[in-house]
Amino acid sequence: MTTQIKEYSTEPLKIWDEAKELRRKYYEGYLTAHERGGLRWAGGAWSFSAIPAGLGDDVYCLTGEPYGATVAFFKDFTSKCHDATEATGFPRTLCAYMRNYWGSILLDKYILADGTIVDHYPAPDFIWQDHICCSHGKWYQVVKWLEERKGKKVPMYCVDVSVGYPVDENLEEYKINYIVQQLNDGIEWLEKVTGRKYDDKLLCEAVWNEIRATRLWAEICTLNQAIPAPLDEKSMYSLYVMGTLMKHRPECVTFYEKLKAEVENRVRRGIAAVTNERFRVITDTQPPWGFLQIFREMEKYGVVSLGSLYTYGLIGMWDYRPDGTWVPRELPPRKPQTREEALKMIVEWTVHRPEWAHFYLPEAKTKMMLSIVKQWKVDAVLLHYNRGCEGLSVHIAENRLGLLEAGVPVFPFEGNMGDEREFDFPGTLARLTSFFASMRLKKLRE
């Protein structure tokens, strides 16, 4: 007896070109900011990016992790970056994004979204960073030092956000105030180092943009609960990235509003990301960026990767219901009107970031993954033991055990998000084939 495999209609995302254009503009905007009299700042994707927005509309940022991922995608350039960092004396066991980023500075080359390499790395005017991951603060200390070697002094401000993870409750007031006070001090610092007057109205606008954008992304991810899934994770990487680059910008809100409308439309019409969807998986942590074709290989088995705690919770903001379900986080009742209100609002919002949970509690991460498994109707979880990111890989083996105890099949694989020397593509593919075979999945097409 042969089982009929269902075939869904599929079509490319209409918003695709707009996504590419937005990303292109972002990297070029940072590069050419000085030509327009603007300012450049550097920091992590998790930094409170709405705060420097109060310095004016001509302030451009370059967030480090997406830049490191972009470098990783273009393997020749990555390899040169690694050579440069290792020749400087940094070990290859450090964060791969960080090494890619430093390598780019050391080579004095800047890479654009399409892989174009531009001479002269555009140094930031200041660094605005947060610190939760073991590498984040140190990352920019080294950037400062590397720029100093080239003769440019770059002032740096780092916000300590390691106040614990509230899971499904509110954080104690004094912890919130601890971060709010750092941001207040940070605004004074920004005025001092840039010589600009700070505009609270722009701050309120940026905070509200960030809150809306990060909720919108959660709403888009929720739509992937549909069968067939309207989005696959490989495509989602190109979409969630806007939230890591410019979550505080109005362009990001507009983009996610349009995307949400398009994905809703796909769900209504039953448009699938993978035409033969018959097995739903989620992953965890960043993928090995140079080998995204692994997702296309999975599709040959009718497997769709719906996302991950990483793609949903790195930027998307969620509420946890008492029954253990996840819903997009409820918006505050109104847009902030004052600096005080804006800072408190963005801190209270940010501390609930799902991807921060595992820094404190592996159980919280397992719990969230199990919620995703249940709500998104997931059949198995692929865990990337990512040697390139200590932060997101911490406790991952415990998450594996938690998932297995709950009866969820798990496929762990070793790799590195940004250093291809640590990812064995054919070996991983062979083991993945074994895993799918153990799930009784056969290849549907070559």
Binding site: L404, P409, D424, A430, R431, S434, A437, S438
Partner: protein
């Protein structure tokens, strides 16, 4: 009905020809040369001769092992279907020992741990990644360093009762450790035991990731090495069963799968 299972491993091709999914008519093996297809074909011909069969009499062939794709739907073997090693291992072991719950397969290139369900299906598995320290090649490399035939490594190790810690994480570093031990005039049998202890420790820590449940069965070419079993038992703190013809279990599983396909 006659079916065949072909296990195209990293070092050897193993073939089992089966009658009615039960009776083993023949077992054959041969070294894998540079031309894998040619090696597999030669072993297949050898198996046909020893079982006095013609190819047309074999209703279905299933291939497994790392080189399985090379003979998939390609004449003359024409394997009709391919299965990953973990599936064939579980199938073959379950046939021989239905009480099996954990299969440990140590071959030339890979070490695997397979958790087997009550129905013989694969519940979970683990495979060593990017490291030869948990595979037969490790012992072979060390045998060269000790100037001992690989077949003598196990018996040599059994002569020693001494414990010498050795790096089990990397074959290359382990080799330099062996060289250091040779220069330090450590007895060959002690070094041989240290090598087996290190490999057993590596395999045990890998298998413990999926959990060890009785009955535990060791298969693959390394199961024939008498020096490997005692340290593995010690590391896992359990009895371990080694079936007759442990290196053919994957091929047997493939032959059974071929029978089931036709059934």
């Amino acid at each position: 009905m006659i079916t065949a299972g072909v296990d195209v491993g990293a070092k050897y091709v193993k073939i089992v020809i089966l009658e009615d999914g039960k009776n083993v008519l023949t077992r054959s093996n041969g070294i894998v040369g540079f031309d894998v297809w040619k090696s597999a074909t030669e072993v297949f011909d050898k198996a046909l001769i020893s079982s006095n069969l013609k190819h047309e009499q074999i209703v279905q062939v299933v291939a497994t092992g790392m080189g399985r794709k090379i003979i998939h739907k390609k004449p003359p073997i024409n394997a009709g279907e391919i299965f990953p090693e973990v599936i064939a291992d579980a199938k073959g072991t379950y046939r021989l020992i239905p009480t099996v719950r954990t299969v440990i397969d140590v071959g030339a290139e890979e070490g695997r741990g397979v958790k087997v369900g009550e129905n013989g299906g694969v519940k979970d598995f683990v495979i060593n990644e990017r490291c030869a320290a948990g595979a037969g090649t490790f012992i072979e490399t060390m045998a060269r360093a000790l100037e001992v035939g690989v077949e003598n490594m196990g018996p040599l190790a059994l002569k020693s009762a001494n414990v010498i810690p050795m790096n089990a994480q990397c074959c290359v570093f382990a080799e330099s450790e062996v060289v250091t031990l040779i220069h330090s005039k450590v007895a060959k049998e002690d070094i041989a035991k240290a090598i087996h202890d290190a490999m057993a420790s590596r395999i045990a820590s890998m298998v413990l990731r999926v959990g060890v449940e009785k009955d535990v069965v060791l298969i693959g070419g390394v199961a024939r090495n008498p020096g490997f079993l005692p340290p593995l038992k010690r590391e896992l703190n359990t009895e371990i069963v080694v079936p007759e013809y442990p290196e053919y279990v994957g091929a047997l599983g493939a032959a059974i799968l071929a029978f089931e396909m036709e059934g």
